[in-house]
């Protein structure tokens, strides 16, 4: 049965479209395909949890871009998805065509919410740390602040809710969990995620190239630092 891709592409005004896929995996495939096979007239691409926003350089490209998008979605649908298992150590999903080095983030697991996270998940603190460090996380999208990557993990074990009360100030480098995602706060901001640790790595440095350590599509591994290190 053929999917009517056109009905999945919703207008977001006359210079953008929102592709609704309702599932993270095709979102990642479409986003990486758009990074590799750039469609003429597309200005920027923003994958999120279940959607991909595509913006255009000009309102006059709308028809053309929509047609190309439908063709690309159709092609992706016919190609079998590439295995993207969590234990890929070469780390290059074949459909991206880009070098996909794993970003290692050293973490001291001393976050104030760590005991609460363990209690919510019915795990011990060491089990939470093991679950956080044993998996390859992938950056689904970046939002909220420059360099704030929403990281997803294939096993989904560390799904905890946001805190009932947001904190007014979370320090830069805080490693956190919420809603099935993990993230590292790039700068001091208010926030409602559960804090499990901290890193000295700078996630966002505006005059570094690239400024964001983690970008949509990046692979990330957290590494535990013990107190002696």
């Amino acid at each position: 049965m053929d999917i009517d891709w056109n009905s999945r592409i919703r207008s977001a005004g006359d210079r953008a479209m929102l592709v609704t896929l309702d599932d993270p995996r095709p979102v990642q495939r479409l986003a990486s395909a758009l990074r590799v096979h750039a469609i003429a007239g597309v200005q920027d691409v923003l994958p999120a949890a279940e959607t991909v926003l595509v913006t255009m350089h000009s309102v006059s490209y709308e028809t053309q871009v929509r047609r190309e998008l439908v063709a690309l979605l159709d092609r992706l649908d016919r190609e079998p998805p590439q295995p993207d298992s969590p234990d890929v150590s070469r780390g290059t999903p074949p459909d991206t065509g880009v070098d996909d080095d794993i970003v290692e983030i050293p973490v001291r697991y001393d976050g104030v919410d760590l005991p609460e996270v363990a209690r919510l998940l019915d795990l011990s603190v060491p089990e939470v740390i093991a679950a956080h460090t044993d998996t390859i996380w992938r950056c689904a999208f970046v939002g909220f602040a420059p360099g704030f990557g929403y990281l997803t993990s294939p096993d989904g074990r560390l799904t905890v809710p946001r805190r009932a009360q947001a904190r007014t100030a979370i320090p830069p480098g805080a490693v956190a969990l919420a809603g099935g995602y993990s993230a590292v706060y790039p700068r001091g901001t208010p926030g409602g995620w559960q804090l499990i640790g901290r890193t000295d790595l700078r996630m966002w440095v505006v005059d570094r190239d690239p400024p964001a350590l983690v970008r949509a599509g990046s692979a990330i591994r957290f590494v535990e630092l013990t107190s002696e290190e």
Partner: protein, 285 residues
């Protein structure tokens, strides 16, 4: 070549056409809130349209030239003087060394654009001279005592003396299309009924709207929307029911449904709507 900033009003920032292409790092486009006025200011002084200029919120700017300068003021028609003598809006102005251009408070509109022949030549950050007030990227907002470098004059000369601008109507008309999440509302077309008024907490991030007359926007779905990308001009409706029209520095992802999206050309109109101004949405189908 330098210009000296002697005084600023509520907010003055350097803006160009922004930094597209950074969504994968969590950075939005920013750039002039009213892009058409920035382009016009640049054209008047013979610059390429995307040169850096000064975006002035509600007047109050005074600047002095250290050498002869060609400038133009567009956007909100702030009464302008050169050394006390009134000069025309949206026209080519010549400042001699030491002369001071002052902008008063415009009777309509919100943001004026001051372009200088050669462009404001501050360092680019991620490919743009725009100040992004949401993420704090780009040149700092201007303050009294700031000095701004001016780039080399372009090879093109000004071709017209002035560009007459129509006076905006009492009630602004803004064209919009149903948004990607219109189906999350009981009656999304309610947006197009009656009129709205721009609230005081309006900035470069968005224009917040209050109801003047007409029905409220009621959500049909109460579940949470997973965060998704939002486009410039999106009319996002938070739980309060008070819509926000996203402008230049808007967050690139959001978790509230977008009921409609303003046409690209009319985003500039919304960016010039001042608190207390009424507007109506009309459907562009």
């Amino acid at each position: 070549m330098l210009i000296f900033i002697e005084r600023v009003g509520p907010l003055a920032t350097v803006q160009d056409l922004g930094r597209p292409g950074w969504f994968d790092s969590g950075v939005g486009q920013a750039g002039a809130a009213d892009r058409a006025s920035l382009r016009l200011a640049n054209r008047l002084v013979g610059n390429p349209e995307d040169h850096g200029a000064i975006e002035v919120l509600l007047g109050g700017l005074a600047l002095r030239a250290d050498a002869h300068l060609t400038v133009a003021v567009t956007g909100a028609p702030a009464p302008a003087t050169v050394d006390g003598t009134p000069v025309g809006h949206a026209s080519v102005l010549e400042l001699d060394e030491g002369e001071v251009l002052r902008l008063g408070l415009a009777s309509t509109g919100l943001r004026s654009y001051v372009a200088v022949r050669g462009g404001i030549d501050v360092a680019k950050v991620l490919g743009s001279r725009s100040r992004d007030t949401l993420s704090g990227i780009g040149p700092e907002p201007l303050h009294a005592g700031a000095q701004l470098p001016i780039g080399p004059p372009p090879r093109t000369l000004p071709t017209v003396e002035f560009a007459p601008q129509p006076v905006p109507p009492e009630v602004l008309t803004v064209r919009a299309r149903p948004g990607p999440r219109a189906d999350w509302f009981a009656e999304p077309e309610q947006l197009f009924r009656g009129s709205w008024v721009v609230s005081v907490d309006t900035d470069r991030i968005g224009a917040r709207l209050d109801r003047v007359d007409g029905p409220p926007l009621v959500r049909a779905r109460s579940r949470e929307l997973p965060a998704e990308g939002v486009a410039l001009g999106s009319v996002q409706v938070p739980p309060s029911g008070q819509p926000v029209v996203f402008l230049a520095d808007h967050p690139i992802t959001g978790g509230y449904p977008v009921v409609a999206v303003v046409l690209d050309a009319d985003v500039d109109t919304v960016a010039q709507a001042r608190p207390g101004q009424r507007l109506r949405f009309v459907p562009d189908l």
